[in-house]
Symmetry: D2
Subunit: 348 residues, 4 copies
């Protein structure tokens, strides 16, 4: 009953096997390993983007920060949702790497609208050299609230950005979960709807720790490489990153894992909705659920061994009837039995 | 005959086994995994430092940069040798993380002397607010030239630093190689001779990618954690770092590997010295050799499949008699047969 | 009829005379001039703070940025109003100097409430190393909207900050205008209500270009000096800053000028209120007025030679009846006749 | 007998008059004042560069730092002499603004040679993404040692830089002193010999505090403006900078002042050379002299009221016969009588 995070589960055995297999003999370091050549080809094929620059990096904070720094200038502001990971959970890393600041677009259910984005962009208008200049847009897909932008919504956001000369980044820490939910191609969810760069997550979906940074405009690739190195994010024994990503993408493993996680989440959501006293906060479209339930119920579940975060209050102390928000995340390794166990327990 | 770098060899099977074993079930992320508790205890025992703060990070550039940033202020200068990795090979990462600059102390054979250090420290004297202020000292052990500071030499450097209120960092990317060469304890090579923080390398000595940052004064530990996170260097699935370090330190594996690498290097050095036309540039005290040899000889070796770096000229083009510098590095996995093969080839 | 900004007017003749007088003979540079000793004593007397560290700097952006950087860490967030100068008009300078980010507290009339501040502080709670850490609070007095915090309101804000271990900065670009409006002492408006550092403006109130940075806790003074120098803000011929501030503070000149500006603003506000079709947007408590008026009226005024900013639309183009926001600022040199001329013109 | 620094003397009366005259009525801020239009035209005429971008800033540290930041990237290294002001006397400001590091070229008499520059550039070759990348060259004219590059020497340096794709900056804190000594035009000393940007000093030569930043390639002008603002270096009451520079350049005042300073320096040097026990350290070609003299002689002069810096030892304490280095600087206001007084005193 472990629903705390999708970064707490194990790596997929095939990923681990690939790592073991890669550990043979000598290989040139720093991305010059032959596996990386294969990974580059795989990613380009997945994105139908033959010119794309492809780099690997250890985690999402680094992927986002180095990409956004490459896309922006220190006197600019990066537009993102007010609950974006880059704003709330990266301890100023994007600002550290880029020098830019963040402008927060309201996003109650995790999703910005093009209108709200436009309002924020034009709200800063006409200050000339005095105000921060307009930098890139960063879209999180799956959002932090477990919701998913439609392709039309992404297109509307990036079109708004383009209107003001701004590029668009997609924080895809849960890219595969969105892709499988939308049942579209990687190209359709990115450059075909105006996305310029992607942080393609592996870590939360069955890898040990690897993300691909995909840059559709190779002109900025060399700057990315220098920024990655300067941030201490170029690995010497790079083959261990390459091997993870190779196995992750091979034979659709990444999509299978995301589909499994989403399916478990749907099963869980259905059970929760059927339960008296539970309110869903957002439509769970991928592998994350936010729900409200009285404190006493949270306490009962946690005491019985369920593991998940209660966000806005101590489940141990306070009014037993008060509603608290819980977050449940399913990773690829969650089983239908695990979900059933949780739901059975919930029904008491 | 792969002597290009000690980051091009495989990880030790025991390290890989530990990784596979760690990949079971759920584990809290971001360093809260139980293996990290064991690693912390191991490192403290190795260093005989019960209060030391211990953190893991993916590579040496990150370890050095986050440690030095934690020890310095952006208006200071960090003293290091003029061939230090932090100066030459980290693409400004230490400056990026710290904001400080570097003051280069001459070090022909890779080793600074206390006198040269003092000259550089006092050479910047008396400028008050105008000049960079004195920041920490960074000592590389094993040096970039393959030489090793004696304990007395380290003590003299850190004492000089202390005299001016400066702390000392030890870049121990090849810490184990030095330790086994000096046949002393980790405590003797660090805090007992005045070292305040250590980058304890694993990557170059049989791990996939992990370094321990050891901070003897726990007062600055929280700042280190924030800087690590802000640099994108806190791993979510941290157990995979922990598992590597745990296996690396267990049962003296790290020392065994370093000893093997050093022994192969000694074997190689003996063979080189016996060869007509070869000049050793520095005393190879660990696992790195710099030597001069005519271009034609380099070309012959490389053509025959030896892999190593030629530093100051193209081995393919130019005067066949001109001496060029080669660098040979032995990692833990190099065999006596591999060295013999090289030497046999050299003898022609 | 120049109401565009209080930085567009001349310096007061007494300030200019002091500058001319200071231009005699030799004086040690970088703040070691004897006039600075006098200024330090003046500022300490004005603030009834005998230990305060006092520094001069050329403008408000620099004063705010260097002070806030000295009070914060690069992994923190600085709390300020959503219309603060440090957020909107300094092109990321506070972020550049500090490395920190800004958290915006809603402030419709320019003033944050302690409740809103608390909500923002606790809204970021419990993310440990992942989220930005709590940095200082920055209060703007007079606010960007021309309103003024009461002493009680400042005390409530700083008390809230203190509760969370946060220090408080006061951006006093129009400090004198607030002081004279509140009819209180500088001590009462600052450290007696919990303010730790002050940017004391001179530039907008009759100086050529000088602000005093006042630090009540001298422990951080040396860091301020280094940060000022590192930002290129330590003037060699510092006496010209000192002379301005000396004349500015002498014999209450600064308060006289602020009083004059505020009085002209009150006269102007009274006239505007009496005019049909004008709506005041905020209560003008110092020397700034925001008002709404139909586009046709703005156009008429501007065409007739009035100089001021129209904020949210082009006065030349668009629906003649549409209300647009105008901003009028009175500086010390504005005359009653100048105001009358504007009002007469307005009445048509 | 004040020879401590050329930033300790007064501003020229004509500069002060211009300042007083500029203090009339209203003027738009932030560089939109009409005087700045005149200054721009003056500077362009002086440099025979009709397209040059021209900006004013308060001091040399800021001028150098903002220019170099605009010319470089944070993963680069800036080449300069090992005694450059940007290295020794700006408390890391150039690194702060640019993110780049500095590579020091040896310069015993203050002047780099093209050969030494080339050796430093190529000494960092072939590290790819690992090493700092090549950034701009910064040349100091007059050098910190009081020597002057010939036009040929500058041309050789910038040609070497260009060969490696590097731009060249000229730190002209004492630009006028060099110009008048070389008896050439501003164009001949800058873009005609390959210089891309210039910090044109006013502060050390009769202004209160103003430098012009001259950028021959206007493509980077907007970035300069943003960086200046972000550094807090865009003055609101900008007319007071403009007025200084206007008067400074008008009717050759700047050259007259530099000529006077250089002439007094020549007079002083001749007297020193004639004095037994004095050794000149460098050829004083502008307005700065470094000389050696026994401690007892320094002490005698200082006790008698001469003001100058003794660089490498306490004149009060130590062996009376030991030679110590003194630095004498003549500013525009130094009189022949003042120099005579010093020399008479020296002769005893």
């Amino acid at each position: 009953m472990f629903f705390a995070s999708d970064n707490a589960g194990p790596a997929h055995p095939k990923v681990m096997e690939a790592l073991v297999k890669a550990n043979e003999g000598y290989a040139m370091g720093y991305g010059a390993d032959p596996i990386m050549d294969a990974v580059r080809a795989q990613v380009r094929e997945v994105f139908e983007a033959r010119e794309a620059a492809v780099y690997l990096i250890i985690n999402g904070t680094a992927a986002n920060s180095v990409l956004l720094a490459t896309m922006s200038k220190p006197w600019q502001t990066i537009f993102c949702s007010d609950c974006a990971h880059i704003h709330e959970d990266e301890c100023n890393a994007p600002e550290f790497y880029s020098g830019a600041k963040l402008t927060l677009v309201p996003a109650t259910d995790g999703k910005m609208t093009a209108d709200d984005l436009r309002a924020k962009i034009t709200g800063e208008e006409n200050r000339g050299v005095h105000g921060p200049q307009r930098g890139p847009l960063s879209i999180t897909q799956v959002t932090e609230k477990g919701t998913i932008y439609t392709l039309e919504e992404i297109a509307a956001l990036t079109a708004t950005a383009q209107e003001f000369g701004m590029k668009s980044h997609l924080d895809g820490a849960r890219f595969a979960n969105a892709l499988t939910a939308l049942d579209c191609s990687a190209a359709e969810m990115t450059w075909k709807v105006g996305v310029d760069t992607v942080s393609l997550g592996g870590t939360k979906n069955g890898a040990l720790g690897v993300e691909a940074c995909v840059i559709f405009d190779p002109d900025i690739a060399w700057e990315f490489e220098l920024r990655r190195k300067r941030g201490g994010h170029l690995l010497s024994k790079h083959r261990y990153l390459s091997a993870q990503m190779q196995a992750y993408l091979a034979d659709g493993l990444w999509l299978d894992m995301a589909q499994a996680a989403n399916a478990r989440c749907a099963q869980l959501a259905a059970g929760l909705r059927a339960h008296n006293g539970v309110t869903m906060l957002f439509e769970p479209q991928a592998n994350i659920i936010f729900f409200e339930m009285p404190r006493r119920e949270h306490k009962r579940m946690l005491d019985a061994g369920a593991v998940y975060y209660v966000m806005n209050g101590d489940p141990e102390t306070g009014d037993a009837d008060e509603n608290l928000t819980g977050r449940l995340v399913c990773d690829w390794s969650m089983t239908a039995e695990g979900v059933d166990q949780f739901l059975t327990l919930l029904r008491g």
